[in-house]
């Protein structure tokens, strides 16, 4: 209840709402600041090439991609199954611009490049969003996004001269020194992504999105332009996902459909992360990302080293997790806190 009241109150302005924060929210804020400081200092504390830093790096990437999905899937209720397409588009944009030297900037971790890597997926989102969101019911929208993503995969695989086909493209090597710059950029971008989703959902836009996710007909009858808000969340979400795709390509130095468009890693996991952590919440993707990346790195690296067949355990486990979550905990882990503490 107070969540909804808070929303109504805070939709009148984000800054005003900051001034009115309660003690509880101030505590949250302090915890967040401390966490950020700790994360920021982590490479100095344990050495920048440690596995834990790599682990956190992956966590931040998944937080970012999942927040992008969260905006359209969690807050607006439109299940997009095309996340991997936006991720790959962002990566390919970076790769192609760098390889062909289109903008004459310094390319490696270039903000302009990363910005463009967000814009191209956003354009793609507009193209597939317009027909699918305007006419199609929820399930069909999901298939539409999935089909569009697979069309993209086929185009990438077939246009070998342009996109490198199945083997992919190699980035002209920049200066990969250590994991440091990746880690901090990922941390910064994850914070920005979370902040963006936070601001959007606390604004009037967020109110509209939530209304749409709960009851479209009712929302429309209250004068909300359904298509516009759905498109807005879809496009902004895809922008965020694309930027993280660019970051990931900087890390891999190689891009091909097998690594950038794997269904389980880049389509299913962001979705699972949001649902496990709590669909339509801010903290949900963060919690979910920590859990799922732990599962994933453990399954891939630890179990996989023992026996390659065991590396299949973690996708099976994630399938099982999502079934269990949907059956017994549909509000996700973050939603559990509402169930435990009684509402006044």
């Amino acid at each position: 209840m107070s969540e909804q009241l808070g929303l109504a109150r805070e939709s009148s302005g984000f800054l005003k709402s900051l001034l009115r924060t309660s003690l509880k929210n101030r505590v949250y804020l302090i915890i967040i600041v401390i966490a950020l400081v700790v994360f920021g200092a982590m490479p100095y504390m344990i050495g920048v090439d440690s596995f834990f830093i790599y682990y956190l790096f992956m966590v931040f990437i998944y937080i970012g991609v999942s927040q992008g999905w969260n905006l359209v899937g969690g807050y607006t209720g439109q299940i997009s199954l095309g996340t991997h397409a936006f991720f790959a588009l962002g990566g390919y944009t970076t790769a192609l611009i760098w390889i062909h030297g289109i903008t004459h900037t310094w390319y490696y971790f270039d903000p302009l490049l990363m910005l463009l890597s967000g814009i191209v997926p956003a354009i793609f989102a507009v193209i597939i969003g317009l027909p699918t969101l305007s006419r199609l019911r929820g399930d069909y929208f999901s298939f539409g996004t999935l089909a569009a993503a697979e069309v993209l995969r086929i185009i990438i695989l077939r246009t070998t001269e342009f996109s490198g086909g199945a083997t992919g493209l190699q980035l002209p090597s920049g200066g990969f020194t250590d994991l440091g710059i990746y880690y901090w950029t990922a941390l910064l971008l994850a914070v920005l992504a979370t902040l963006a989703v936070f601001i959007i959902t606390r604004s009037r836009i967020g109110l509209a999105l939530r209304a749409i996710s709960e009851d479209e007909t009712s929302a429309a009858s209250h004068g909300i332009n359904i298509l516009r808000y759905k498109m807005l969340s879809f496009v902004i979400g895809s922008f965020m996902i694309g930027v993280f795709g660019s970051l990931f390509v900087y890390y891999q130095f190689l891009i091909n459909p097998a690594t950038m468009m794997t269904l389980d890693r880049w389509m299913f996991y962001p979705l699972l992360i949001c649902v496990l952590g709590g669909n339509g919440t801010i903290m949900g993707p963060i919690i979910g990302a920590f859990i799922i990346v732990t599962l994933f790195t453990f399954g891939q690296n630890a179990l996989g080293a023992i026996n390659p067949a065991l590396s299949k355990v973690h996708p099976m486990l994630s399938g099982l997790i999502i079934i269990l979550v949907m059956k017994y905990m549909p509000t996700g882990l973050w939603g559990l806190k509402d169930k435990i503490s009684p509402r006044k």
Binding site: G77, I79, I128, P131, T132, R135, L136, R137, G138, D139, Y140, S142, F143, G144, L146, A147, A148, E150, V151, I154, I155, L157, R158, L263, D264, F268, L271, V275, A309, K312, V313, P315, M316, S318, G319, L320, I321, I322, I323, M326, K327, P330
Partner: protein, 291 residues
């Protein structure tokens, strides 16, 4: 006759398999508004079961079809009661879609662990004898597959029209609340629908195993095309789903023939999107489309 006619015929035969899968999807979606995304993986799972029966025990796939079909019916009911009962009751689309996707991941990876990612197929001794009809060559297994698919469709059609349970299934597809007011137990109807859906998957699986090679990841491909067939056929329309499947099989085959396999997939997906946007109620869609 030319090679293109050969491609057409192959497309029809292949399409009946998509159609069989689509009928199952149609039943499940019609009664419970659940998109059973794991259908493709389930089909491949049954293909592997038949493969096992054939290679380990030497049982002819068409003989193993009967116990496998019965197993599939039970499995379908089991899926419903264990996984989908709550989601069906709440008509929760997101939940059911995600549960189905989760099941797909479990199945795919399970199959990959147990049977390895290498493609398999069932090759029987009599399978490749060629029958020539109207100048085109058809292998015996494909002809049998076509016959089985048609028989299965007819069977389901008769079941839905002539039996009491079948009528209950149809009624629930049209209007769940009214059906419960009429005294129809939704759980039982849903379980029956699921059972038939998985049963049809097992039939498609056997057909698939005998005619083509398959690997664990192929299920995803199959389910997308089955969904496409379902979209074309219109929800709740059994014959429409089969026809939709055939159309897709033909398009895929002809596009493969003229453009090559890779682009054929692309063409298919683009057409899927177009069909979704332009005619979401299907080419043969009926009147009461509670979409």
């Amino acid at each position: 006759m030319g090679l293109s006619v050969q491609a057409l015929v192959n497309g029809i035969l292949f399409g009946t398999m998509y159609g069989t899968a689509a009928i199952g999807l149609s039943l499940i979606f019609g009664t419970m508004r659940i998109v059973f995304f794991a259908q493709g993986s389930v089909i491949i799972f049954f293909s592997y079961l038949c493969f096992w029966a054939f290679s380990l025990l030497g049982i002819d796939p068409y003989l193993s079809m009967i116990p496998v079909f019965i197993l599939a019916l039970l499995l379908g009911a089991g899926f419903y009661y264990v996984l989908f009962k709550e989601a069906a009751a709440l008509q929760d689309r997101i939940s059911s879609l995600l549960i189905a996707v989760g099941l797909m991941f479990i199945l795919e990876n399970f199959m990959e662990v147990v049977w390895t990612p290498n493609p398999r197929s069932i090759v029987t001794s009599y399978g490749f004898s060629i029958i020539t009809i109207l100048g085109t060559n058809i292998t015996l297994v494909r002809l049998i597959a076509l016959l089985i698919a048609i028989l299965a469709t007819a069977g389901v059609f008769i079941f839905l029209r002539k039996t009491l349970i079948g009528t209950a299934v149809r009624a629930t597809s049209e209007d769940v609340e009214s059906s419960t007011l009429m005294g129809i137990s939704p759980n039982r109807v849903n379980a029956v629908a699921f059972a038939i859906g998985i049963g049809l998957a097992s039939i498609a699986g056997i057909n698939f195993a005998t005619t083509y090679s398959f690997d664990p990841k192929y299920g995803f491909d199959v389910v997308i095309k089955a969904l496409f067939a379902l979209t074309l056929g219109g929800i709740g329309n059994v014959v429409g789903a089969l026809l939709g499947g055939i159309i897709i099989g033909v398009i895929e085959s002809m596009a493969s023939f003229y453009l090559g396999m890779g682009w054929a997939q692309g063409v298919l997906f683009v057409l899927f999107i177009l069909a979704l946007t332009l005619r979401p109620y299907g080419l043969f869609g009926g009147a009461s489309q509670k979409a």
